[in-house]
Amino acid sequence: MAGHDVLKIEDLSISFRTEGTLRSAIRNASLTLRSGEILGLVGESGSGKTILSLAAMGLLPPNAMVTGGRVMFEGTDLLRAGASALRRLRGKRISMIFQDPMASLDPIFTCGDQIVEAILLHEKLGRRGATARALALLEKVRMPDPPRIMGSYPHELSGGQCQRVMIAMAVACNPDVIIADEPTTALDVTVQKQVLTLLRELNAEIGAAVLLITHDLGVIHEVADRVAVIYHGDMMEEARTAQIFSAPKSAYTRALIASMPSMSPPRTRLPVIERDAKGEIVSVVKPSATVRAAPAVTGGATLLELRGLTKTYTLQATPLSAGREVRAVDDVSLAIPARSTLGLVGESGCGKSTLSRLVMRLIEPDSGDILIEGQNLAGLDVAAMRQARRDMALVFQNPYGSLNPRETVRDLIAAPVDIHRGGKDRDAIVARLLDAVGLPKEAAGKYPHEFSGGQRQRIVIARALALQPRLVICDEAVSALDVSVQAQVLNLLHDLQAEFDLTYLFISHDMSVVRHVSDSIAVMQKGRIVESGPAEEVFERPRNPYTRTLLDAVPQVGTMQPAAAEA
């Protein structure tokens, strides 16, 4: 699908002014968008990919400074164009789709109003004409019942529907360029699939040049024609998609692809990205720090068993409305053998987080039993439950939120010791745990904000292990991390399981991660377990249609992935 060059980013360098100094964000980046083509821009957080996209719209924040290069669109340099000239281009010739579709819509106007307004901004159609066009657009983005959507407010739609409305607005004026910044990151995997497909089809229809920015190589693989890889502000390489995955040129790209869980056999250590002695980026599979044979997975006694666990919430939308009942967890029964990992998958809102809290009785179950080595936690009183919690630990999704920002790492890690053992041997334990999770000793005196996301997750894990628990519940423990960091944390979890005889309840929405870490799998939908079994069996031969939908929706990368090979 060869097209002509529409938008050219040439040799662009951007810096940020922060407290008197300049911090370089992008260095000498060049990109060319061609009509009818989807260019994927992939990079981890902080790589500068979003800044690049904003520059392409002339929407740079005030504290950003262009130190070199230009962004050419039809002979105009967008970085130096006047405000009104830019305004005529935006939305009409170049349009943009953002990450969080719900937040990107004005909450107090109906979707119809907003689409009509977007059309009328650039075309003299009259209100009636614009409304007709809006309806047609909604039809085009395959919204059910467009007239109803026209009259709906953003909060009345789902995230996927909102993103379709955004896409409808983006294509409203048949733009030459569409910039999509992480358009599916906030969406569930099944919805992601639909949105990506839609984007691709629309693009084929209107022939625009699309810049698709994402951190997810799977997404790129799914829809992009060409791929550009950016790392710490530097363009690493640019190539056709197939080529990137089959024969990546730059070491970074290679390493990045290698660290994806789906690229390695399940239950192995993942390669991680490192810089070697010469400063070159390399991908290495490091041996486990502790030399110990992997435990026998099968045949272990059951550590955790859930029986008929149920939790119902009453939701009250506003203080002035009546509540309605929601079954968050509905008659869930599960068993996890000791020293094994159970992967719990499901889309957002399916009740998997509630389940994790129920197990620890952070939320009181309505009914059901929680048995740990035969002891039923559901019947314990407050004090006994407090005691019981020393054998369990919880690792959360958000490494920024799960550490008290006002405490030092030492106090954070020693917290379980303080709580259950009156602080006995705390310093020694902290030192040992820091070592175990691969953090330097000096870390003990620092505060969480001085660490990166991956390091924080290590701190959280260290804390979880302080009292050598039997069960560790990982609730989306790696979801907020970049692929490269995710690989490190997954490795760590892998090693620790061996070292400390841990049993994991591993909760995630990411199928490939779950596949990678789990011995057995449970699939959750609307509060119920719809399918469970050994990991291989569930992934290879899903019995439940929902499981199948989930698996189908996962973007597949490369040819080494077993599931993809079958597909």
Binding site: L362, M385, R386, A388, R389, L394, N404, P405, I419, R463
Partner: protein, 275 residues
């Protein structure tokens, strides 16, 4: 919480200087006052500025400058004590209201609502009416008046903190409630409370002055700024500067505290800082 950025703003620095000055004067006022603030001089009433009386004299011939200097103390004491009372009790109520069990929380917050619907100055009017007015009773009354605001702020901050995972982490580790409150909640709701405290100090100064203005504040002849303003209002035509001086002092103090509070709020609110 880095405060160095704050000090770089001239207005904030000036406010800090004013506040520092006021606290110092509140401590040493009686020693630096050129005259006895209570000494009547029947031959020199309502005089304008002179070399003997820099800011003139009041209706009793008392030195206005000396009264201003000495009058800071009750003002400052009432402001600080009442804010302390409100902060301690309000925060406690707010935390329990937010963190405690639902029924307790419900009753606490409804109680707070009731206090809020009871107009502040009227409460003071009633309370001061049956209590002897004095620095201590005034502080208590004003302190009680500001409890609900603190409770609201503390409660909403607590709820916000409770929504964060580190609190859940404490529970997951089996922490006791006291540990959760003092280690997890309190340090993390401090920022809005500090802001609320500065605003309360300013409001308490204003309320004290308003009560003194109504004749319900500090007992004469001990001076307080509000009481001086209230009295001076009657002498606006004879001795116009009499009302100007305490008004200026009061407005400047409240202004300084408000500016500091604003700056702190801007500084502590990451959303405003980075926007």
């Amino acid at each position: 919480m880095r405060l160095s950025g704050l000090l770089r703003r001239p207005l904030v620095l000036a406010s800090l200087c004013v506040i520092f000055g006021i606290v110092v004067v509140a401590m040493i006022g009686p020693w630096i006052a050129p005259w006895d603030p209570l000494a009547l001089d029947q031959n020199n009433v309502n005089q304008g500025s002179s070399s003997a009386h820099l800011l003139g004299t009041d209706e009793f011939g008392r030195d206005i400058l000396s009264r201003l200097l000495v009058g800071i103390r009750p003002t400052v004491v009432v402001a600080l004590v009442s804010t302390t009372i409100a902060a301690l009790l309000g925060t406690a109520l707010g935390i329990v209201g937010g963190y405690g069990n639902r029924t307790v929380g419900f009753f606490i917050m409804r109680g707070v609502d009731i206090m809020l619907s009871f107009p502040a100055i009227l409460l003071a009017l009633l309370a001061v009416g049956f209590w002897q007015s004095g620095v201590l009773s005034l502080s208590i009354v004003i302190g009680i008046i500001f409890i609900p605001q603190f409770a609201r702020v503390a409660q909403s901050a607590t709820l916000q903190v409770l929504g964060q995972e580190f609190v859940e982490a404490e529970h997951a580790m089996g922490a006791r409630y006291t540990r959760v409150i003092f280690r997890a909640i309190l340090p993390n709701i401090l920022a809005p409370l500090v802001v609320q405290a500065t605003l309360t100090i300013a409001a308490a100064i204003l309320l004290e002055s308003g009560l003194s203005f109504l004749g319900l504040g500090i007992v004469p002849p001990e001076p307080s700024w509000g009481q001086m303003i209230g009295t001076a209002r009657g002498y606006m035509s004879q001795n116009p500067m009499y009302v100007v001086w305490p008004s200026l002092c009061l407005a400047m103090t409240v202004l300084a505290v408000n500016i500091l509070g604003d700056a702190l709020r801007d500084h502590l609110d990451p959303r405003l800082r980075n926007a």
